[in-house]
């Protein structure tokens, strides 16, 4: 069997694409670079939308990226079931693209927060979290100025009732997110977005707080192999 192919998207201003590609390779999958200006998903089996400041975060984080040529391909593919993970800026893009409900706004503290953050896994029924245990606490780096998850009261009630909250901050909420929400998924569970960075927590050598991030990549591999 050929290796699972995970696309890693680069926009102008993306920062974490190399770490994401490295994490994909660490678990034995093939990392396929995808360019924002191409109308081409290169036939990948899953897509990683990494963090950074795509298009300079002009207007709103993710507001311009959402209209990139690549996104015109990605949005319908994701709606049709292609597994997509967005971290940090990638999460913001998924919300702006309405692939995930709600939005990410300025941290309540108005400060950029960079720290190791504990989160609790609340949903293992997704393409990206099936290797975790329900209720498991993991530690991942967070680094963002606009990570406060907000949604209307109705949306919030709906995602809570549907079990669409995938990660919740524990040991302190870094940004004032509603209901301590760190990450969510769509109803189908193929699309997941979160503010923390799994791709920065895959190797002890670089001083990562844990290697808990590997679980995201083993999850997608398991999902693709069993598909």
């Amino acid at each position: 069997m050929s290796a699972a192919r995970v696309g890693v998207v680069t926009f102008p201003g993306t920062l974490d694409d190399q770490d994401a590609a490295r994490a994909v390779r660490l678990v034995g999958a093939e990392a396929v670079p995808l360019w924002h200006a191409d109308h081409d998903l290169k036939g990948v089996d899953a897509v990683f939308l990494p963090g950074g400041f795509s298009y300079g975060d002009y207007l709103r984080c993710g507001a311009i990226s959402r209209f990139a040529p690549l996104m015109e391909e990605l949005i319908p593919a994701a709606r049709a079931g292609l597994p997509v993970l967005g971290t940090c800026n990638g999460f913001q893009i998924l919300c702006e693209a309405h692939l995930l409900p709600g939005a990410l706004t300025r941290n309540a503290s108005l400060h950029y927060v960079c720290r190791d953050q504990r989160v609790r896994v609340e949903s293992t029924d997704t393409a990206w979290t099936n290797a975790f245990e329900q209720g498991q606490e993991i530690t991942l780096p967070v680094k963002h100025g606009e990570g406060r998850y907000v949604a209307s009261a109705e949306t919030l009630a709906e995602i809570e009732a549907n079990g669409q909250v995938v990660f919740r901050y524990v040991g302190g909420n870094p940004n004032g997110a509603m209901n301590d929400i760190a990450g969510i998924r769509n109803e189908a569970g193929n699309i997941v977005g979160l503010m923390p960075h799994p791709e920065h927590a895959v190797e002890e050598l670089v001083g990562a707080p844990s290697t808990d991030g590997l679980g995201f990549f083993t999850s997608i591999l398991k999902k693709l192999v069993n598909a």
Binding site: A63, F67, C95, A103, A151, G176
Partner: protein, 81 residues
């Protein structure tokens, strides 16, 4: 030639920590009597032609599509006299 103004504000139920920070700074600068501040964005759209119904409908579409994220923001459109 006409100018159309689009004002974008966070919905009232969405916390605006920037507005709060401004409100807290005002008394320090000697301004009193302010109970709250909310911060938003103003877009000035210069049209090549007149601000007729079709042009205004187009600006509304721009606001809906790009200028505002209607999940968290409200917008208003008006023609500048």
């Amino acid at each position: 030639m006409a100018r159309v103004i689009v004002d974008v504000m966070l919905k009232p139920e969405i916390l605006d920590p920037q507005g709060q920070a401004i409100a807290r700074a005002l008394p320090r600068l000697g301004f009193s009597g302010v109970s709250a501040v909310r911060q938003g964005k103003r877009f000035e759209i210069e049209l090549e032609g007149p601000a007729d119904d079709a042009a205004i409908a187009d600006v509304r579409k721009m606001a809906e599509t790009l200028l505002a994220n209607t999940v968290i923001e409200d917008y208003t459109v008006r023609v500048e006299a």
